[in-house]
């Protein structure tokens, strides 16, 4: 054999290229994990994947009542409030769902990880794939409600070219969920405290992101404005809404800063993850 030695030792260099090469080698596994998640999620349920639609529909109804009717927070005039909430929720749910699940990578898979080696990143990537699948269904639901509103309820269609950037937004949301999730999952192998934090933290984060209200309802001078601007999700979610309503915040500057923050978080996440994956079995 003339092959090179594979070396197993403490630490080892952080080599992004090798990480991706390993992942490509195991792409079948990523796909099979994805298939398993989808297939097993709705075993022994009567409504099956319909639950994917029921959840955002009911949340949007609650939002319509609480934010629209009780708090009377205005939504853009060219879209029904219901469609507006669905739009924000479909992207938010994608992010939150992926982040939550990726955070549990080590703890939830410890029995498998403890018995056999494969690139641990295969699990987070398969979670992103399942996330995209669920997002597609919820996004189609939004599109149907949106188009229905335009055709039958007299709303006008104000879309613009930034719609073409939606795949980029999705990509950035994925990378952010991945980066944050990797960091949390790495820390929870030894200290479980973060699990508690993430559980309700994600719920709170939704209110610090313009999901259920337009960003412009917040006064330019208020503290919350600055706080929300610092949240990389604000620029992304607002940009998604802008594409469909031409109403909202679309700032190239903010998006660039968001992208940089997200990439930084991602690199940190992958670095910590690559350190932890080799020894987490000893502490988990």
């Amino acid at each position: 054999m003339v092959e090179d030695w594979n070396i197993v030792e403490k630490g080892g260099a952080f080599n992004l290229r090798k990480i991706f090469k390993d992942l490509v080698d195991y792409k079948d596994l990523i796909y099979l994990f994805f298939k398993r998640d989808i297939k097993s999620s709705y075993q022994q349920t009567i409504l099956g994947p319909l639950w994917l639609i029921i959840q955002p529909v009911f949340t949007s109804i609650v939002f319509t009542i609480v934010f629209g009717n009780i708090a009377k927070i205005p939504t853009p005039a060219n879209i029904s409030p219901f469609a507006f909430y669905l739009l924000g929720l479909s992207f938010w749910n994608y992010f939150a769902d992926c982040f939550n699940k990726i955070s549990g990578t080590f703890v939830n898979n410890s029995s498998v990880f403890g018995k056999v080696y494969f690139p641990r990143l295969a699990v987070p990537f398969s979670i992103l794939l399942s996330g995209i699948f669920k997002f597609s269904i919820q996004f189609i639901l939004f599109l149907s409600v949106y188009v229905y509103g335009v055709l039958f309820n007299g709303y006008t269609m104000h879309i613009n070219m930034t719609l073409l950037l939606i795949p980029v937004y999705l990509m950035l949301l994925s990378l952010f969920a991945l980066g944050l999730g990797l960091i949390v999952s790495s820390f929870t192998t030894k200290y479980r405290d973060l699990t508690m934090l993430v559980g309700f933290g994600v719920q709170l984060l939704m209110y610090a992101t313009p999901v259920a209200y337009p960003f412009f309802t917040i006064k330019y001078t208020s503290v919350f404005y600055k706080l929300l601007s610092a949240n990389p999700l604000t620029g992304l979610i607002e940009a998604c809404k802008y594409g469909f309503t031409s109403n909202g915040l679309f700032s190239v500057k903010l998006l660039t800063v968001d992208t940089l923050i997200i990439l930084l978080v991602l690199i940190i996440g992958m670095y910590i993850f690559s350190k932890v994956e080799k020894k987490f079995m000893d502490t988990v």
């Binding site: 054999m1 092959e3 090179d4 030695w5 594979n6 070396i7 197993v8 030792e9 403490k10 630490g11 080892g12 195991y26 079948d28 596994l29 796909y31 099979l32 994990f33 298939k35 398993r36 297939k39 097993s40 075993q43 022994q44 029995s111 498998v112 990880f113 403890g114 018995k115 056999v116 080696y117 494969f118 030894k190 200290y191 080799k278 020894k279 079995m281 000893d282 502490t283």
Partner: protein, 430 residues
């Protein structure tokens, strides 16, 4: 022959106790040391992996499960790793299979390495057998098209073709294991690392597995095998590594290695006398088993019996102080660990004589037709009221039952053992 695996000074340190504030302070100290560019301060502490006497020398929170392991394995070798419980075999396997990293040193290997520390890793109960074959295969490192190509072979080997589209949670445990093993058997890696997964399934399936493993080895692949089942190791492996207290005592020809290992346990195997520092699973001061052995009805030491022959199990225990009533359990099982028979005196009256300080000898007559095979005895003493174990020694004495009867009884007529015991029964034609 070329070297395909090299272990260079591999050590592995574990922390004892639970994760909490104390481990956080250790982590902080470690981080500070690293920022100052110094070595991890906890690598210098840590005691030898001698679990049974840890109380004597170790107040350290750290223990070396492996210390300075060095070996080389050539292509095509079938290596058996043997040693008592707690010798560091499993830790070594975990490092070999890349589940965890060594604390110091490095492991090098060439080619594709697959490990089987358990059968059916990643099986999802809700998915069908078919889906699980693909999933499990991919987890073990196979590509989808490889699995698809070998799919029919895998199903045939497992013998569960009829149920392949049923969720595996509806499988019997035997079917589950068969299917899982079938996937693993068709892995075809350059290096295969196997834990005692063969200790599952019925005898027939076990033989099938071992045959399959042998054929894998014949194709020039390297196999590393960890087991307590010495006969299997002996028939299957070409070289052996004998481990004790986290170190390698010996590496070499399999027969020599096994002999070396047996000499270690020779006293126990030949006389049944169990030294005080023997590895005990539970060890509460008060009472201790000092001898477990078998004897013929005449009372002569013996570890080979004819089929259906009555024999004695002799026990000796040291009671160190006056204790509450105890009960004693003997288990008879396979050397690999599965137990199939309980030998116990259920009457509590019997134990009244054993509460006093001193050495007690007990003789138990066994009158059963145990099927031919090699079996070992596990013994334990526990408190009648609380159930607390005073002592528990596993697989301490090994004996053999042959298929030929002694004293004019009937021979065992089959070549395979169908179970473990021929139950006492009365047959009548009505």
């Amino acid at each position: 022959m070329s070297v395909v695996i090299k272990a260079e000074n591999i050590s592995k340190q574990y922390k004892l106790g639970a994760v909490g504030i104390s481990s956080l302070t250790d982590d902080v100290q470690r981080l500070i040391a690293r920022l100052k560019g110094k070595e991890d301060p906890f690598l210098k502490v840590g005691v030898e992996n001698t679990r049974d006497k840890v109380s004597e020398e170790g107040d350290s929170k750290y223990v070396w499960a492996l210390k300075d392991i060095n070996f080389e394995i050539n292509q095509g070798e079938v290596v058996g790793i043997i040693g008592k419980n707690g010798a560091g075999k499993s830790t070594l396997l975990k490092i070999l299979s890349r589940v965890t990293e060594p604390t110091q040193g490095q492991l090098k290997y060439k080619g594709r390495l697959a490990s089987l520390l358990e059968v059916g890793t990643g099986f999802h109960p809700d998915l069908s057998g078919r889906d699980n074959v693909f999933l499990n295969g991919a987890i073990l490192g196979m590509k989808k098209h490889e699995i698809a190509r070998k799919f029919d072979e895998i199903i045939e080997f497992s013998g569960v073709a009829k149920y392949i589209d049923t969720p595996v949670k509806r499988y019997s445990s035997g079917m589950y294991v068969r299917l899982a093993f079938a996937v693993a058997a068709h892995l075809d890696p350059d290096i295969l690392v196997i834990d005692e997964v063969l200790a599952v399934g019925d005898q027939e399936f076990q033989n099938k597995c071992i045959d399959k493993m042998k054929s894998v080895a014949k194709q020039g692949n390297t196999v590393i095998f960890v087991s307590h089942n010495l006969p299997t190791v002996k028939s299957f492996c070409t070289t052996g590594i004998f481990m004790k207290y986290g170190k390698i005592v010996m590496q070499g020809n399999i027969n020599e290695t096994i002999n070396e290992y047996l000499t270690e346990n020779k006293n126990v195997a030949e006389t049944g006398i169990i030294p005080k520092d023997f590895f005990r699973l539970h060890n509460t001061p008060g009472a201790m088993i000092t001898k477990v052995s078998c004897a013929s009805l005449k009372g002569e030491f013996c570890n080979e019996f004819g089929f259906g022959e009555k024999f004695l199990i002799e026990l000796e225990l040291d009671v160190e102080k006056k204790i509450n009533p105890i009960s004693i359990d003997l288990l008879i099982g396979m050397p690999s660990g599965e137990q199939f028979a309980l030998v116990s005196e259920l009457s509590r009256e019997f134990y009244k004589g054993l509460c006093e300080m001193g050495t007690h000898k007990i003789e138990i007559e066994i009158d059963e037709q145990i099927l031919p095979g090699i079996y070992s005895i596990t013994a334990g003493i526990s408190d009648q009221a609380s159930g607390i174990n005073y002592d528990w020694v596993e697989n301490v004495f090994t004996f053999r039952v042959s298929n030929v009867a002694k004293n004019g009884g009937l021979d065992y007529p089959y070549t395979v053992s169908h179970g473990f015991i021929n139950l006492k029964s009365n047959w009548k034609i009505k």
